[in-house]
Point group: C2
Chain length 387, copies 2
């Protein structure tokens, strides 16, 4: 297997993009990534697109062909593949793109993630969101994403004395980071009091514990590491790209205070990258809910199980702390266009490892990790990158 490098990244603004269409934002992100890589579109040999449910949100399937077509690549007849793993669709698209280049099958490929969520009403959107969990055993019984994460939060509070204030601190930190991120949906600070005063969505989770629905698209361009310096002075290398699964339903897990898919994917990722968690300077983790970030930073080995809440409260996950978690603002403040998130996370790691993150720059970053999950953790995708 060859080593793979990322040579270009692109994001749309994330948010309520009512004047933009699904295909429009997908193409914008792709074109930005291609321009950032300094290649021409006709050098692209294959496209991998991550999207959760455009069928539901905009009535469109056949997403791979659609994006290739509207990106002007139809005349090349390149392979265009759409993958879906709920909210981990973006990470999964990148994982397949990495495999395609690592194996020598293709040289230059693009991986993109996209979701257009704000063109439907709230009821429709909520129903589409629960298609990421077990429809027959969870959703039909009334479970929603927040209610399932609330169960995880309750169990974590019970077992490890995690507090609502510690969870709220995740949101406060991520909003604070996003102030310096131009593509983020919410670029304003919030306070612990504001989180706790916001409406309860599913006790103990408040509205400001939850990431938001958004439209957005992100893309990265990959090539073999040995060719990367032909295109850029600041290549970022993919040291590991791993994927694991778990039961789709939460009630079938052995322990709901941990996500085994994350644990398995992380173990494999550290092995492939030949590093320890302590060597990671920054991580974009899947904070779809604040409790999810606390569980993730434990499962990824950054903090001991049960200590994620305390570590967050004490500022260890801030930029300048022990490890910078979600320097971009995370899903919480960037917004969470489902299929785009996994790629957006990686664009942040690349930006940081290039030293181009401006006021949110993590100093002396060498290894960064991106952690993307589907649903309540039925899928986990992990990438470790280095400069």
């Amino acid at each position: 297997m060859r080593e793979v490098a990322i040579i270009g990244i692109g994001n749309t603004k994330f948010g309520e993009l009512w004047d933009r269409s699904f295909r429009d934002i997908a193409v914008e992100a792709g074109v930005k990534a291609i321009e950032d890589a300094g290649i021409s579109g006709d050098e692209i040999e294959a496209l991998y697109g991550g999207n959760m449910t455009a069928g539901g949100f905009v009535g469109q399937e056949h997403i791979g062909a659609l994006i290739a077509d509207y990106a002007g690549l139809a005349g090349l007849h390149i392979p265009a593949t759409r993958v879906e793993a709920a909210c981990a669709s973006g990470g999964l698209a990148l994982h397949l793109a990495v495999l395609a280049v690592a194996s020598g099958w293709y040289d230059i490929v693009i991986a993109a993630g996209v979701e257009k969520m704000t063109d439907v009403g709230e009821d429709v959107a909520n129903d589409l969101l629960v298609s990421s969990v077990d429809r027959e055993w969870e959703a039909i019984c009334g479970a929603t994403l927040p209610s399932l994460f609330a169960q995880m939060a309750r169990a974590h509070m019970e077992r490890y004395n995690t507090t609502v204030e510690q969870m709220a601190k995740v949101a406060v930190k991520n909003h604070s980071n996003a102030i310096h991120n131009p593509m983020a949906q919410y670029r304003r600070g919030i306070t612990i009091d504001a989180v706790l005063a916001s409406p309860v969505i599913a006790e103990p989770l408040h509205m400001l514990d939850c990431s938001s629905m958004a439209d957005g698209a992100s893309a990265v361009v990959l090539c073999p590491a040995e060719h990367a310096r032909k295109y850029t002075d600041s290549p970022v290398y993919v040291k590991a790209s791993t994927q694991a699964s778990d039961t789709i339903a939460l009630h079938d897990r052995r322990d709901i205070t941990t996500m085994d898919a994350t644990v398995f994917a992380a173990r494999e990722a550290y092995k492939r990258a030949s590093i320890e968690p302590s060597q990671i300077s920054l991580a974009e983790v899947h904070d779809s809910y604040t409790i999810a970030e606390i569980i993730a930073i434990e499962d990824l080995g950054f903090f001991e199980k049960g200590k994620g809440g305390v570590a967050t409260w004490e500022g260890e996950t801030e930029i300048g702390g022990k490890i910078a978690i979600n320097p971009s603002g995370g899903l919480k403040a960037c917004g969470h266009p489902l299929g785009a998130t996994g790629i957006r996370q990686v664009t942040e790691i690349v930006t940081q490892l290039r030293g181009e993150a401006g006021k949110r720059q993590v100093p002396d970053a060498h290894f960064g990790l991106a952690h993307n999950i589907g649903g309540t953790g039925g899928t986990a995708i992990i990438h470790i990158l280095s400069n």
Copy 2:
């Protein structure tokens, strides 16, 4: 790249399976394939699932994790990937599975395709079907799949003097073949007169020119060719696995009597397999509509452009003819559960190359080809297999 072999296959019955669920049929096909391969489930290292729109038909996304879970593989935490390329989703799942084994990333993987189409009303189903074409420029204007294929048929008739009787002959042949296929939805013969007397769906296509909605699932187990004889005395080898794209909308094509995605994928497939079209003994081609089979057998190089109708009429595509096309009965008579079809086609080629096809056996078959398209040809996936 290593050569890859297919060591196990499994299909459910295709048809209106009202007493079976989506997950239920997916697992049945997978278990059959695993049993056919003589392996145990815990030898599976990764799963690739093809599905077009379970989000629409059964309200469920996160299909990879779901299938792995209900197949009893959740405890292994294996990578479980769902891909979508409209009606080519099954073929695409196999393509990725082949790459995963060929590259050495995994040894034993399973590729499955599944669709549950009959649990919704006809209006819902028709709307989901057009999500495979360009929603904004075709479907919103009222175009349906049959109407788009009808345009291709009209153009083919105009340019090449193809007749409705020649198209009807495709359906007659495929129904005749399916009589001997136990998993087919329709196991009864039809006549040219019956096709032409059936209701017009979109002129010149009659009801019996169209493949049918169905529930069904199919699966295959792959391993490196060098290990295949440990598992089976009749391995079937993957000589080529290729993918190409085209514009998603029909009106953007340079010529609607041909599908360039098929032409490009076929060219690459013959090159990789180092064979000529004339060496293929049998092919399962994507006869979603009868005209699609005529176009396919031309684009695949079996017959000169414009001669597909005549060749069909003269019996050259029957079992025992120049090349057996759709000995299984094709999409027309097997039924077309969208995401399952691409894998089902390959199970037929494997059955034939093993010499296990009974009364529909193609004599002396050595090379077989499977051709799976998405929508009106925005995606094409081709596999060439040999014994």
